[in-house]
């Protein structure tokens, strides 16, 4: 079997095995093992594509563009690996975080299904198949949201599902129009056909619909309201994997569609640019107004999405490198912050900033492990976020887009504000119930290990950015010039 398919098959097998063993308690270990295997095969995949080569498989041996192609290029492979790493971290974390009741209802099984959906979205080379993976993700994430939860969660889950369904309708309409226009949905074949077409009204509609569909998925201003409503109620493992991966699939779909399939028209690039800037700004302002740890972090997801979309909207090589760097950095940091939020909740007994405190005295190591992703998020050197922001700001300056550069800097500053707010309230100030309230509240190894590892990754990317930068550069190159991609999928004989 081709190395492209292993990261897809493993989580499916994992899901089935986890379901069968969900009453025995070994399902959580199967989940960890499957996530580990996923990470290992993804590393092999990244190694294979690191020299710029692109791997393609045709499902069912139907030649492209008739069958479904699965493709791993630099961006796809990197995102698959980061899915594996985040999945592994959260699988380990959930050993102690997810209770028996949730496990009995099939938590680990749904979790693996979610990983399968995310991986599929990153590896598919077919626009309709992308929709199928979106559905796999949506159903399993909805299952995780409502698992053994009451009305509060449902209240958050309903807008999440409703908006995602609206996004699906936009997406399918666009897919239908595109199929009518070109007679194909294979991404490589679409590019070949669209290159030979004059710009038309239909094509503009397709662009607009796809922007709306993926904009909702990735929570871009003004379509982000569902996100802060849904991300702060479920189990911490669930919100960590959502925060790390789900919206980033939307961003990935934007990048893939508007580089590989059809480059953005200047008008739409301008619209996207302003949306990106407003997303960054509104997200960070929203975060400043929140008083609950996960809600602050949720608004920051929105704000950070803006940076990645900015990279796409600026539409230069350096900006794309920045967007890719940002994606990778953000997934690690954001998942980690949500995991830390889970530990904060367990140790202090709450998530509302005014009712917790005293963590610095009780858990100094945790304080450091919070500071690393928090400062990275704000863009402190030498952490990973610094390089991600640096590349993006440099790209804006290169294009003399001073507004974008200024906004990126300003939002970075405002990010520090919310991070210091969490720091000051949860870690620095004494616990309102007295410091004795924190005594005897230990932190399980299964929480230390993933948080420590993800923090270490942040530091490693920050200290040794050059291999990551080189990989992002290679990937951006193949996004801007998809001839290699087309060659790999369609073979020499492009019809």
């Amino acid at each position: 079997m081709s190395p492209v398919l292993w990261p897809l098959v493993i989580p499916f097998v994992g899901a089935i095995l986890c379901f069968m063993t969900r009453h025995t308690g070994i399902d959580r270990w199967i989940s960890v093992a499957a996530a580990l295997a996923h990470t290992v095969v993804s590393i092999l995949l990244v190694v294979e594509v690191a020299d710029g080569s692109i791997l393609a498989v045709q499902l069912g041996d139907w030649p492209a563009p008739f069958g479904i192609s699965m493709v791993a290029d630099g961006l796809g492979a990197a995102m698959t690996l980061i899915t594996g790493i985040t999945g592994l971290a959260v699988a380990v974390y959930s050993i102690s975080d997810v209770g028996q009741r949730a496990a009995f209802s099939g938590f680990h099984s749904l979790f693996q299904m979610l990983l399968a959906g995310v991986t599929g979205a990153f590896l598919t080379g077919d626009l309709f198949n992308l929709y199928v993976w979106f559905e796999v993700m949506l159903i399993s994430s909805f299952g995780l949201l409502v698992l053994n939860k009451g009305r509060d969660t449902l209240r958050g889950a309903m807008p999440y599902v409703a908006l995602n369904l609206i996004s699906t309708i936009f997406f399918l309409t666009a897919v239908g129009l595109l199929y009518g226009l070109t007679g194909s949905l294979n991404m490589a074949h679409l590019r070949v056909t669209l290159d030979g077409l004059e710009p038309s009204m239909t094509l503009s509609w397709v662009t607009l619909l796809l922007l709306l569909a993926f904009g909702i998925k990735s929570a871009v201003f003004p379509l982000f309201f569902w996100l802060p409503a849904a991300y702060h109620t479920p189990a911490f493992s669930v919100s960590a994997i959502f925060a790390g991966l789900l919206t980033k699939v939307g961003v990935y779909a934007l990048i893939r569609t508007f580089t590989t399939i059809m480059p953005l028209e200047p008008l739409f690039a301008d619209i996207l640019l302003w949306c990106a800037l407003l997303t960054m700004f509104v997200g960070v302002i929203g975060a400043a107004a929140q008083q609950e740890v996960r809600q602050i972090l949720s608004f920051h997801i929105v704000s950070q999405i803006g940076y990645m979309v900015l990279g796409l909207a600026l539409n230069s090589r350096l900006a794309l490198i920045g967007a890719m760097f940002y994606l990778i950095h953000h997934i690690i940091v954001k998942a980690n912050l949500f995991l830390v939020a889970g530990v904060i909740h367990r140790v202090t007994g709450g998530s509302q900033l005014k009712s917790i405190g005293g963590l610095y005295a009780a858990q100094p190591i945790l304080a450091i492990l919070f500071l690393i992703p928090a400062f990275s998020l704000a863009g402190f050197p030498p952490l990973s976020g610094f390089w991600a922001k640096y590349v993006l700001i440099q790209a804006s300056m290169e294009l003399s887009d001073w507004i974008a550069a200024g906004t990126a800097l300003l939002v970075g500053l405002l990010t520090i504000y919310s991070m210091t707010k969490i720091w000051g309230e949860a870690f620095w100030k004494p616990h309102p119930a007295g410091d004795d309230a924190l005594h005897g509240k230990g932190i399980a190894w299964s929480a230390w290990v993933p948080i420590g590892t993800l923090a270490a990754l942040t530091v490693i990317i920050g200290l040794f950015p050059s291999p990551f930068y080189a990989f992002a550069e290679m990937s951006a190159q193949s996004l801007l010039d998809p001839s290699g991609y087309i060659e790999a999928v369609l073979g020499g004989s492009a019809p």
Partner: protein, 139 residues
């Protein structure tokens, strides 16, 4: 729901929707249709039934736990996809078995393609019904 009209209508609809869902499943081989849409229609049948009765009655009429149905479907769908590489072909390559073929006819075809579609059908039906019942339990 406490409407007599709805209850009578639901009983009728229930059967029609189920038959229609199987029809869509089988039609999907060469025409629009297939496991996904068939499974959705099948799920609608049980949701209609749930609205006229209650959760316990729906579970009883479904006979199997919907979650088990979903995972069983996933398993056979995956098995159908992996039959190709097991027999030395590509993943999801269709495997065909012709029963009772003579010189003139190919015989009765049995394929991994249909197995895959049935798997998708059961997965979608099971997952949607499980989700809806779980939500209804909380409301």
């Amino acid at each position: 729901m406490n409407s007599l009209i709805y209850k009578v209508g639901a009983n009728l609809l229930f059967g029609i929707l189920l038959v229609f869902s199987i029809f869509m499943l089988l039609r999907g081989h060469n025409e629009p249709g297939g496991g996904f849409i068939g499974g959705l229609i099948g799920a609608v049948a049980f949701i209609v039934y749930k609205m006229s009765e209650n959760i316990a009655a729906t579970k009883k009429v479904l006979r199997v736990n919907p979650e088990h149905l979903a995972v069983f479907g996933l398993t056979i769908a995956l098995a159908a996809g992996l039959m190709g590489p097991a027999l030395g072909e590509g993943v999801f390559a269709g495997q065909w078995l012709f029963v009772g073929g003579t010189e003139d006819t190919k015989g009765w075809p049995i394929s991994s393609v249909l197995l895959f579609d049935i798997g998708v059908y059961l997965t979608v039906l099971g997952a949607i019904v499980a989700l809806v019942l779980e939500m209804e339990r909380h409301l």
